[in-house]
Symmetry: C2
Subunit: 224 residues, 2 copies
């Protein structure tokens, strides 16, 4: 029987690439997505589409996180800031403790179904300055999950894989293309139009746009 893996899947460029990596490693895939009141909820349709394409079981968990006003991604009021190259503070789109919550649900699902491997598409090179994308956080999350579940009493451990951790955005895209990822069917934009089109201006659009340009390509998710 194939080993199971839980893959955190937002439907964005990074997590869809991460799913392709896990697929190549021949796991029985369980994709896990979240509706947390994000303004770019359109990403969830693409998460589901990519999960189905990869033959993954699709799990969707819905909840409200902290207080909505705490982030430009969940607030109805706050504006999503434009991308500024080279800026690396914590931006207004940071969602309090988001990856902490996501990884906790991944551990809960993994423990429930007997998976030991969790994949998350964080990276800390070309990223948005979020603290919950750093390797120290992933290392500590692994330890906490192993202490707070049956792993503490039994002879197994969770492993959290972050295969994009040290890649530049253009390297992620090159890798994904080699694995057959169709980036026109990914959504990264924080501030899409009502019909789901990427804005091309936010932090998340800016990072991927620049990476495609670096490769001499046009981001296929733009101008759809």
């Amino acid at each position: 029987m194939k080993k199971k893996a839980v893959v955190l899947l937002s439907g964005g460029l990074d997590s869809v690439t991460c799913l392709a990596i896990a697929a190549k490693e021949k796991y029985a895939l369980h994709a896990l997505s979240f509706d947390y009141g994000q303004r770019h909820r359109v990403e969830l349709a693409l998460a589901r589409e990519n999960a189905e394409k990869a033959g993954a079981e699709f799990h969707l968990v819905s909840f409200r996180l902290g207080v909505p006003e705490a982030s430009a991604l969940t607030s109805k009021e706050a504006a999503v800031p434009d991308y500024i190259e080279g800026e690396h503070g914590i931006p207004a789109t940071y969602v309090p403790a988001r990856n902490l919550v996501f990884l906790s649900f991944a551990a809960a699902l993994a423990e429930s179904i007997g998976a030991r491997d969790i994949f998350i598409g964080v990276n800390s090179i070309d990223y948005s300055g979020y603290p919950d994308c750093q390797p120290e956080f992933i290392r500590s999350s692994t330890e906490t999950a192993n202490l707070g579940t049956k792993a503490a009493d039994e002879k197994w451990k969770f492993q959290i894989h972050a295969p994009l951790q040290n890649l530049k955005k253009h390297e992620i895209i090159t890798l994904g293309l080699s694995l057959g990822v169709d980036y026109s069917r990914t959504h990264s934009c924080y501030n899409p139009s009502p019909d789901g089109r990427a804005c091309g201006k936010c932090d998340s659009c800016g990072l991927r746009k620049a990476a495609f340009e670096y490769l001499g390509l046009t981001d296929p998710a733009l101008g759809k």
Copy 2:
């Protein structure tokens, strides 16, 4: 201005005592409760009642955790086992990664509202053999939360308080009574009757019943 604290509140004996301890320490209280499909959802009414009595703001987060069949607490099929004195394995009522998820939401709420202090009523003396009640887990959770939030970049840290960690159940009750806790208005039973009455037989009922008896008292939540 008072310092804010987030208190995880199930409505059970331990968490209501923990709330009373945080209240005594003069925090501005934010109680955080979860509807995760538990069969003893009746606890949530008592969580809200105790939060209001303590002057706490009440936050309720709803979600489904892992797969329901993974625990006797969330499965419609599995039976809740009876209490057996001195038994300390991981019981069927263990919910995968529950405290991991709860603490993650506590960190998200705390970060959102500017609280640095989180209270959780875990204890590892008279408890149900759950791995997510151990001091190493609480220590590791604190570290992970401090790495996965703005605490990593700013000059503050979360502190997770587990004031019941090393108390026996009867010591918790004695402490709670000294703080004015009304234990008739707490709910710990995993397997209540449809009208919300405690069964008196499950692990959770058995532990508190034995502790009240040790003190020469009758558990006021039984026989209501």
